[in-house]
């Protein structure tokens, strides 16, 4: 399931956490491990999970048969409630039209291929996330070890400042108790209560077990690629090298870590 380079990076990341957080550990091994420590520190600073989405693969696959596997898997394992009212709905992974996903990019005459086609949207796990900047309790935070923008559902006070801050509409608020709207409960993941904000977590609970995010794993079209942006040999970096890619609202300086091949 895991490619070699990713596993090795996880290991190095783990090592560097030891090295950086425990001075005493460092002193004991100082002489022999100096070189390794430096390499590990450098690698840890660079670990940033990212995703490259090739919508063409998805559309090609969907010409044969309609597919919502990624969204179903994501919302299923994360106990995302199914609320029909668009004003109150909760979305972690969803689709929208090109002109809505990239409102500043489009023009009147898009290529026939992209016109009316859905684009897959999720939290961008920005390098410079405004939601994290504005949160008054650090209930949303960027994990230093791998760049995932996380939510602490138990600390969130429900002020919704992060929703005003996010320029991607990636955050949803529980306007009501979500539990009655969960079809099938996954006991491995917490449900939320009314009054807190939630969003995609890049499957942090799966990353912890060295597993890919669920959407990536279940995609039959292989349209989603996940990897470490800091590793020049990672599959995401390979794709970025080979294709022209765009990010949503690049001009805002948020540094989205979800790329779209066009």
């Amino acid at each position: 399931m895991m490619d070699g380079s990713r596993r090795s990076f996880l290991k190095i990341g783990g090592l560097s956490v030891l090295g950086l957080s425990g001075v005493r550990v460092w002193n004991v091994f100082a002489a022999t491990q100096e070189a390794g420590h430096e390499a590990a520190a450098e690698a840890a600073g660079a670990l940033q999970w990212a995703m490259v989405i090739d919508m063409k693969k998805c559309w090609d696959y969907q010409e044969k048969q309609p597919c919502t596997d990624c969204m179903t898997a994501c919302h299923g394992i994360h106990n995302v409630p199914e609320i029909a009212d668009p004003k109150r709905e909760i979305k972690w992974l969803w689709t929208d039209l090109y002109q809505h996903a990239f409102p500043t990019e489009g023009h009147e005459y898009p290529p026939a291929e992209a016109k009316g086609k859905p684009f897959l949207l999720l939290c961008n796990h920005c390098s410079n996330p405004p939601c994290v900047r504005v949160c008054p309790t650090q209930a949303t935070f960027k994990r230093p070890e791998d760049g995932v923008v996380m939510m602490d559902f138990h600390r969130c006070i429900g002020c919704r400042y992060c929703m005003a801050g996010c320029p991607y509409g990636s955050r949803s608020f529980n306007w009501q108790d979500p539990r009655p709207f969960i079809k099938e409960l996954n006991m491995q993941f917490p449900t939320r209560t009314k009054g807190v904000v939630e969003k995609c977590n890049f499957c942090a609970e799966r990353l912890a077990k060295n597993l890919y995010p669920a959407c990536v794993e279940v995609c039959k079209a292989k349209a989603l690629t996940f990897g470490n942006l800091g590793d020049p040999t990672s599959p995401v970096r390979e794709l970025l090298k080979q294709h022209y890619t765009i990010r949503r609202k690049n001009e805002l300086g948020t540094g989205p870590n979800v790329y779209y091949i066009v």
Partner: protein, 384 residues
């Protein structure tokens, strides 16, 4: 001193009971919201702040009433304001109380409110807003109460209160600036993303706050033996006139930059407000009303004759207050969410329970105001 609030005329008690009933209705609606969640409001995924946060924003402005009398009195020795500084300070106390209540009723998890103190986060403007609002509340209560207490005993105010008074002046500027920064620093919310938002907040605050103060002072003069003096009204009306002109000027600057540059994201907010966007235009009548009232108010205030007559000054102040309430207490916050991040329009309209809670908070604020004013006026009447 508080015992002075326990004796009053029938109409005083009638007012208190009315406000208590309204606050009670609001509290009932709030219990419903606590039970059901914020779905009982008109807010949505796209317009995630509504009436509550808009009222909070507007009332931060009303709290400026204090500084517009304190600053001339203490820094420029404008003696005519000496009698009414207490009215300005107590109005500020009531306004900030309402601000804080509006923030609390907007929270999805109000029981976790103290997380803001438990995990202080200097990079969040909301954290700083909490600091400056509570600080301003504290300053005005302490200053107002101490100075009034000294006045009652016929002695000079203690020396330690002076530094607090001077501190309260820049502090008043800080509450508007920081509140504007809540909005003006968000990428992708182009209606708010403008450096002139803080100056606009200050200008509209210095118009709305003193105009309400003028109306309240007239009411006090009519219903009690305490007279703030004609000169105080005249000076305050000048403050309102200047501030309102500056506010209108700032709005015009905003319109110029948006429409001369022609950048869609900068224009869309105003287009939504004044002519509707993608077929949505719920705010249109209110925004036009605000614009028209602003122009009439400015014309009235510019005329010295109209400004110096009680009747026309009162009308002008009412117009200023309504115009700015529509601009800030209705238009500014909601429009910031339109269009949404997907460049489509989801409109917002408050629900009845939401309005009930809003009225409840206002009633609570005016209850605080009534009691404080009652104490202040009783002391003033005693010393006549």
């Amino acid at each position: 001193m508080l015992e002075k609030a326990l004796e009053g005329s029938k109409s005083y008690w009638r007012l208190l009971v009315t406000l208590l009933v309204l606050a009670g209705i609001g509290f009932g609606c709030y219990l419903l919201q606590l039970n059901q969640g914020l779905r009982i409001t008109g807010m949505s995924r796209d317009v995630s702040w509504g009436f509550y946060i808009a009222q909070f924003t507007f009332l931060v402005g009303v709290a400026a009433s204090a500084v517009m009398v304190v600053l001339p009195y203490y820094l420029h020795h404008v003696k005519v304001f000496g009698k009414i500084t207490i009215l300005g300070e107590f109005l500020a106390v009531a306004s900030v109380t309402m601000c804080l209540l509006f923030i609390v009723v907007d929270l999805g998890k109000p029981m976790r409110l103290l997380n803001v103190l438990l995990y202080p986060t200097p990079n969040s403007v909301l954290f700083w807003d909490m600091v400056v609002l509570n600080g301003y509340l504290f300053l005005n209560i302490v200053i107002g109460w101490t100075v009034l207490g000294a006045e009652r005993k016929g002695v000079a105010a203690p020396a330690w209160v002076k530094p607090l008074i001077y501190l309260s002046i820049p502090w008043a500027v800080s509450i508007h600036t920081v509140t504007a920064f809540l909005y003006a620093g968000l990428p992708g919310r182009h209606f708010w993303l403008t450096a002139i938002l803080a100056p606009r907040f200050l200008a509209s605050a210095f118009a709305a706050g003193p105009s309400l103060l003028i109306l309240l002072a007239y009411f006090v003069r009519k219903r009690s033996k305490f007279d703030p003096g004609d000169e105080a009204f005249e000076k305050l009306s000048q403050v309102v006139a200047y501030a309102m002109c500056v506010n209108v000027f700032f709005v015009l600057l905003e319109l110029f930059t948006s429409f001369y540059s022609g950048i869609p994201s900068h224009m869309e907010g105003f287009i939504y407000q004044f002519s509707g966007l993608e077929g949505h235009g719920k705010l249109m009548p209110f925004m036009w009303l605000s614009a028209i009232l602003s122009v009439i108010a400015v014309l009235m205030l510019l005329s010295k004759k109209k400004r110096s007559q009680e009747k026309t000054l009162k009308i002008a102040c009412v117009l200023v207050f309504i115009a700015l309430w529509l601009e800030k207490g209705l238009g500014l916050v909601i429009t910031g969410f339109i269009p949404n991040p997907f460049n489509t329009v989801t409109e917002y309209w408050p629900t009845f329970p939401e309005l009930g809670i809003t009225i409840g908070v206002y009633a609570t604020g005016f209850l605080v105001l009534t009691v404080l004013y009652k104490v202040a006026i009783a002391v003033k009447e005693e010393n006549l």
